[in-house]
């Protein structure tokens, strides 16, 4: 159905795509994988009309087409579900689905036919199996629901080809399963799907074919029967990734942070008592919305607690702002790194030294040389791949951005590090590096709390796993007791 051949695209200084071939048959789920920077996004941006290719041809159903704008793409039946959802929070569900092509009454005023739009929206929602009213404001929906709204929007435009970019990166396990079901249904109805994901287990489960890109070139293709994790990883990185997860052999030390009957804004009815030891990585699992991030936000002083105590190395502490937490050596690597983690418009240097500027200043005057030197050495230590520390943090890839967030805290000396979804949207290579760093820090006696919705990561990285369900601590599992089933049972308890 879709045939892209010889697609090349150069950006100043880099060849993003070099004669890439890509195709998708009708009702086929093609997974597109590769490390960040391999060219997946660029290829899909060409297909959705955001970038124009320098050379190459695209044919849709044997007809050559030129896709010059997202409008062209929509007209040709190509819909994109972006990783950063492109929905408008202040409008309702129906308005979002039909944005730009609202059904109207006849007449020059183009008044919106409200009855029509709601009944059409109801049909579109039924098709994706989303059970919300078409008049509910979008801001009340969860991420997973918003994503379904976006899919409904694409389908209501008669999309025959859906591009899904990391669709499960912010979904819970259950929501992911639901999405995979939906993809399967869509395939059955003849919709072709290009599925971009870093989660290889989903791809094993879902894909009819896998196309692997590496450094802007096709590095291989796997057919249904040949799809497995190891072969994909091998094609992605061009080598075997034997020890993906670092060895978890560090010995936990004394209790670093003790939460006693801690209550969060979101779940004031449930008191959580949990301790985090120095030198351990404590995984915090649960469904999205279980109150995991809220707990971390209380420990970091972003939210106030609604009761309970926090003890740091045995002494009660009062954390009322991030500044308090930072002074105590408790740092958060937040989940939405482009919003709370980084100042994307400022340089890497400025980001790294921001929480610690007093160390690089005399009477308020910043010593630039010292600042640069420290930023450079930290970025070197963490292997941040950036042309220099003066480039904007937002221009780096996800993995490198995350390392910059981490470098920021390592410029101070952490006693406890709270990671919220540390590897979301990060490629395989950078993931492994971040796991190694976490392990290394734990080895130095730092207490690490890792919130993650990626089951494989929770199992692979944690020394112990605590599970929350709707604000309640439903269990703490030792490493030997950790299995996917045990965790899931506690998470849905």
């Amino acid at each position: 159905m879709l045939e892209m051949s010889g697609i090349s695209k150069r950006f100043p200084g880099v060849t993003a795509l070099d004669a890439v071939q890509f195709s998708a048959g009708q009702g086929e789920v093609v997974a597109l994988v590769g490390e960040n920077g391999a060219g997946k996004s660029t290829l899909m941006k060409i297909l959705s009309g955001i970038h124009a290719p320098d050379s190459g041809t695209i044919t849709l159903q044997d007809k050559p087409v030129s896709i010059r704008s997202p409008r062209d793409a929509a007209r040709l039946g190509i819909g994109t579900i972006h990783q950063e959802l492109e929905v408008i929070d202040t409008l309702d569900v129906a308005a979002n689905i039909f944005l730009g092509r609202e059904p109207t009454w006849a007449g020059p005023l183009q008044l919106v036919d409200r009855r029509q739009i709601y009944s059409d929206a109801r049909k579109a929602l039924a098709r994706v199996g989303l059970d919300v009213g078409p008049d509910s404001p979008l801001r009340l929906l969860s991420t997973a629901q918003k994503q379904l709204v976006e899919i409904a929007r694409a389908l209501s435009r008669d999309a025959r080809l859906l591009i899904m970019d990391e669709p499960t990166s912010s979904l819970t396990l259950k929501e992911t399963e639901r999405l995979i079901e939906l993809v399967t249904e869509l395939r059955r109805s003849g919709v072709s799907i290009v599925y971009i994901s870093h989660r290889l287990d989903e791809i094993e489960q879902l894909a009819d074919r896998v196309v692997v890109l590496r450094d802007g070139r096709n590095s291989g293709e796997l057919k249904r029967g040949d799809i497995n994790r190891d072969r994909m990883v091998q094609l992605m990185v061009g080598r075997d990734l034997k020890s993906f997860y670092a060895d978890t052999t560090s010995v936990p030390g004394p209790v670093r942070i003790e939460m006693r009957n801690l209550r969060t804004e979101k779940y004031p009815a449930h008191a959580v008592s949990l301790s985090l030891c120095s030198g351990e990585i404590l995984g915090l699992a649960g469904l999205v919305g279980a109150g995991r991030s809220e707990l971390a936000r209380v420990l970091f002083g972003v939210d106030r607690s609604r009761g309970g105590e926090i003890l740091l190395d045995g002494a009660e502490v009062n954390i009322r702002s991030p500044l308090d937490a930072i002074r105590l050596g408790i740092y958060l690597v937040p989940e939405d790194r482009r919003i709370s983690g980084l100042l994307t418009g400022m340089s890497v240097r400025e980001n790294v030294t921001l929480p610690n500027l007093s160390q690089f200043s005399t009477a308020g005057w910043i010593r630039r040389d010292d600042e640069s030197a420290v930023a450079q050495s930290l970025c070197g230590e963490l292997k941040v791949r950036a042309p220099s520390v003066e480039v904007k943090a937002g221009s780096l890839s996800g993995g490198n951005q995350q390392k910059v967030v981490l470098a920021k805290w390592l410029s101070l000396s952490p006693r406890a590090l709270l990671f919220d979804e540390p590897t979301r949207g990060i490629d395989v290579g950078a993931k492994a590096e971040i796991y190694q760093l976490m392990r290394q820090l734990a080895g130095q006696g730092v207490a690490i709390l890792m919130i993650s919705s990626d089951m494989e990561e929770v199992l692979g990285v944690s020394d112990r796993v605590a599970v929350l369900h709707e604000g309640r601590l439903t269990g703490v599992l030792l490493r030997s007791e950790c299995t996917q089933e045990n965790i899931m049972r506690l998470a849905v308890a």
Partner: protein, 311 residues
């Protein structure tokens, strides 16, 4: 840096054109006069610029201005207060009003536009009421001649307001571009949440920007009060906030916050004053001066946008 160079080039070009068309432009009297205006306007524009860097806006400077000047003339002529005390009170009041704006914005989460718009209406109304809508002057200035001389005089032929602008701009340049405080201002303006997550007390930083704006407006108010020597409470200081915002934006501040340059703001102020001067010198009807300014600013930002190197 690129933006600053752009505006400086534009400024030079404009000066050259005006000088060619009317040599009076480079006459000593005209230069003195223009630099005096640049000085006064530049001082409060820097204050507004700092607020803009935090992602806010300050619409109240013009009204703060007139209120300060009415108060000053009443304190000095009617109440016969010692000039030093009167000046101190005016500066303190300016800062205090800024602090009130800042607190309303950061603690109650009100929008800067609304808070300072209400400030504008409130202060101008109060000033008119206090002055009973009568033009206030300083009379012969008995008892505070030194203050008048200090503010309207000059050093080595350079008008005092311009000298003060240089001092203020230098301090603010160091503060914004070289100090920890400035880094925090830029960070908060870019992304308040990420700044907070890095341990910056963003409320305090934002409030301080409004304090600076109020303080610098008060400084400029004192300078201008003695220069024009009389204050009409209803019209004085009208549009000053817009001059300041225009200067800041011309000088490379983004209204979205997080970007700004002191040199740019000063150059932007100079550009606006040269434009006003041009209207005078080139015998353009003075009723057109806003139109001329509007057109030139618009052409400037269009050129900036069009000539911007593509990412």
């Amino acid at each position: 840096m690129r933006k600053e160079l752009g505006i400086l080039t534009l400024l030079m070009l404009l000066c050259a054109v005006v000088a060619l068309l009317n040599p009076q432009f480079v006459g000593a009297a005209n230069i003195q006069n223009t630099s005096r205006l640049i000085g006064t306007y530049g001082i409060f524009s820097i204050g507004v610029g700092v607020v803009i860097v935090t992602g806010g806006i300050d619409l109240s400077v013009g009204a703060v201005f007139v209120k300060k000047r009415v108060l000053l003339s009443i304190m000095l002529t009617e109440w016969q207060w010692p000039p030093l005390l009167a000046v101190a009170v005016v500066l303190a009041l300016g800062s205090a009003l800024g602090a009130v704006h800042g607190v309303l914005i950061t603690r109650l989460g009100l929008q800067p536009f609304l808070v300072t718009l209400c400030g504008l209406l409130l202060y101008r109304g109060l000033a008119r009421y206090i002055a009973a809508d009568v033009v206030q002057g300083f009379g012969a200035g008995t008892g505070f001649e030194w203050l008048r001389d200090l503010t309207t005089g000059s050093i080595a032929g350079i008008p005092m307001p311009f000298v003060i602008l240089i001092v203020v701009a230098s301090i603010m340049w160091v503060l914004l571009h070289r100090s920890v405080y400035g880094r925090y201002l830029l960070a908060v303006g870019r992304n308040e949440e990420a700044a907070r997550y890095s341990g910056i007390n963003s409320r305090r930083i934002i409030t301080s920007a409004y304090v600076i704006s109020g303080l610098l407006a008060a400084v400029a108010a004192i300078l201008l009060a003695f220069y024009t020597n009389s204050v009409s409470p209803s019209s004085h200081g009208n549009f000053y906030e817009l001059y300041a915002i225009a200067a800041a934006v011309l000088g490379g501040c983004s209204l979205r916050g997080g970007e700004g340059s002191i040199i740019g703001i000063v150059a932007g102020t100079a550009l606006l004053q040269v434009l006003r001067n041009l209207v005078n010198l080139l015998d353009i009807p003075s009723s057109l001066d806003f139109a001329v300014m509007g057109a030139v600013i618009l052409i400037g930002v269009i050129a900036d946008q069009v000539l911007r190197p593509q990412k």
